[in-house]
């Protein structure tokens, strides 16, 4: 899939939803629970599909997930029970280095 910054994706295995915060130029396969995520506009299928057990760790609301090379970053907008992965690589929570509250 050609991921676009701002795109909203839904998992087909659980309740996880994300938006793309950073996208690589090239096409990538973004999965949750081992199955490709779908564009939120297309709607989640009514029946969820079982997750691949290798990708069954919780995804936490509000956390940002990235790959090792930081070319892709996803913000979890709805939490769930399956893991996010890109081209098979399970994404890790980006360590927060928040700016001091400035507003």
């Amino acid at each position: 899939m050609h991921a676009i910054v701002g795109q909203a994706l839904s998992s087909v295995t659980d309740t996880t939803a994300v938006i793309v915060v950073r996208a690589p130029g090239a096409d990538v396969e973004i999965t949750c629970g081992g199955k490709p995520m779908v564009d939120q506009k297309a709607g989640r299928p009514l029946d969820l599909v079982p997750a691949d057990p290798a990708f069954a760790q919780a995804t936490k609301l509000g956390k940002r997930y990235e790959n090792a090379t930081a070319t892709i970053e996803l913000l979890c907008t709805k939490g769930g029970t399956s893991s996010l992965a890109v081209d098979g690589e399970i994404l890790a929570i980006k360590s927060a280095k928040p700016l001091p509250a400035s507003d």
Binding site: V21, R64, P100
Partner: protein, 501 residues
């Protein structure tokens, strides 16, 4: 991307926290969400194409912001202090709007031909209509908020802040739910200022309760800060100056962080505050309405390092606005548009997802490379610290020499008796413009305009010494403390006219 997404996340992850108002009876994230749904229904039922807000800051403001977002229409907070003509002008930009108003503004807004509802009625209506969540319609307005700049030099312009500007800014700079449950923010800026918008959203997303003080006095601020156990405060420089000059005990034991911005912070005020509140983290946030919020930050460590430093370059950083945030690119450009990289002064240009670069009725004003001209002058030191040197529009040209009023104002403010200062250019047949100034002195001061002219002459060239320095009780400033230069120019010109026959 729509702001509603952020409130959906708040409801899911922070719904039980009290996020608006007092810790005793404030609104939870869940309440706010429910009511924003009700508000969106109300907007839809009224077939309103925009939501106007004419009133003081308070919970009804973020409620209106998210109701508008969910209804897919823009929110336009307007300055309730504007006269009828000025208000009418702004209202005309939003035909078909529904206006949420303070009770005292209701009749006035209705007379302008706008369908209106008071804040009290709005709070009731949004609760009544709350029900199953609705999603923003497709397509929705890209514009989330329209902020009319205070127009300190010319007629107000409507800055279009898009959903994408705000969402990307918040996601990029705030950790969701990162505030612990004891945190509470105190805000005293009016809703028609970009700081109020950014503050409301970032605090909600962080899970930090926000308390609004809609009429600022130093005493009330201190009382509220203690009573609500405020941990985070956002102030403009004139507020901090007044707090520091307040009588009595200045201690606020709960206070952890004070963020300031909106106008230049006089060095004596921040130095005083750093000493009065040594355990507080200070943050200087520089941004423009057009950048949706902060683009450069001078953080707590920078403040402490500067005040303790022997190295004059490090100490000088207390007068800077810090380093540019990671998601924004900044360029200093010279008069021919060339990029300046050696620390020299020039015009500040910025690029980034949070930069609006769009005005109502004017479309995008970004240059060919996507950069926005802030019209601020500045320079960046060797370690990336940005120093603001005034507005390009304020530059005075005397006898062919470009003079930044900020430079002379800083020298005047360096005099222990001077509390506020403005330097302007007054038209002159011989020189093009001549320099004149007005200052506000400490109550017990015996200083005179002449004495201050000598003070300036001793530190700057004589060509940068104002011909005349008037002494006033106060300078014309907006509610958020921004200097209204054109007012100062008018008054100084009038007062320095030779006596008529």
């Amino acid at each position: 991307m729509n702001l509603s997404l952020l409130l959906d996340m708040v409801r899911d992850g922070l719904g039980q926290r009290i996020l608006l108002g007092s810790r005793h009876d404030g609104m939870t994230g869940e309440d706010l969400h429910r009511r924003s749904v009700g508000g969106a229904r109300a907007v839809r039922d009224a077939r309103a194409t925009a939501l106007i807000y004419v009133g003081v800051n308070g919970p009804a403001f973020p409620l209106s912001m998210f109701a508008a977002a969910r209804a897919g229409v823009p929110l336009a907070p307007l300055n309730y202090r504007l006269g009828d003509d000025q208000l009418a002008q702004l209202v005309r930009h939003h035909p078909g709007a529904l206006a949420v108003t303070d009770p005292g503004q209701f009749e006035r807004v209705r007379r302008l031909g706008v369908e209106a509802i008071t804040i009290g009625q709005w709070l009731d209506r949004t609760a009544e209509l709350a029900g199953e969540a609705i999603d923003p319609p497709e397509p929705s307005s890209e514009a989330a908020i329209i902020i009319y700049t205070s127009g300190t030099t010319s007629a107000p312009k409507g800055v279009v802040i898009k959903h994408s500007n705000l969402v990307s800014y918040v996601i990029g700079s705030v950790e969701f739910g990162g505030a612990d449950a004891a945190e509470a923010a105190l805000v005293s800026v009016p809703p028609y200022h970009i700081a109020a918008v950014a503050n409301a959203i970032t605090n909600l997303y962080a899970g930090r309760r926000t308390v609004v003080l809609d009429q600022f006095t130093a005493e009330q601020w201190l009382d509220a800060a203690r009573a609500e156990r405020i941990t985070n405060a956002m102030v403009v420089p004139t507020m901090l100056a007044r707090i520091m000059s307040a009588d009595g005990d200045l201690r606020v034991p709960s206070l952890r962080t004070v963020a300031y911005g909106g106008a230049a912070m006089p060095l004596p005020v921040i130095e005083h505050a750093l000493r009065a509140w040594p355990d507080v983290d200070f943050v200087n946030a520089y941004g423009l309405t057009e950048t949706s919020s902060t683009i450069a930050i001078l953080g707590p460590a920078d403040h402490r390092a500067a005040i303790a430093a022997d190295d004059p370059d490090v100490r000088a950083r207390l007068a800077s606005v810090g380093q540019v945030v990671p998601s924004v690119e900044l360029q200093i450009r010279g008069e021919r548009g060339e990029v300046i990289t050696d620390g020299g002064p020039g015009r500040i240009f910025v690029r980034g997802d949070q930069v609006s670069g769009e005005y109502t009725g004017a479309g995008s004003v970004l240059d060919a490379h996507g950069f926005f001209d802030t019209r601020d002058l500045g320079r960046v030191d060797r370690d990336g610290y940005l120093f603001i040197q005034g507005r390009a529009d304020d530059t005075i040209i005397r006898g062919g020499e470009n003079i930044a009023p900020a430079e002379i104002e800083d020298v005047l403010l360096g005099h222990p008796d001077v509390v506020d200062a403005v330097v302007v250019g007054i038209p002159d047949d011989e020189w093009g413009q001549v320099l004149k100034a007005a200052v506000v002195l400490r109550a017990d001061s015996a200083a005179t305009g002449e004495l201050l002219r000598e003070h300036v002459r001793a530190r700057l060239r004589s060509s940068k010494t104002p011909d005349l320095i008037l002494v006033w009780d106060e300078l014309p400033r907006t509610e958020t403390g921004k200097l209204v230069r054109r007012e100062a120019v008018k008054r100084i010109a009038a007062e320095s006219e030779p006596a008529g026959v």
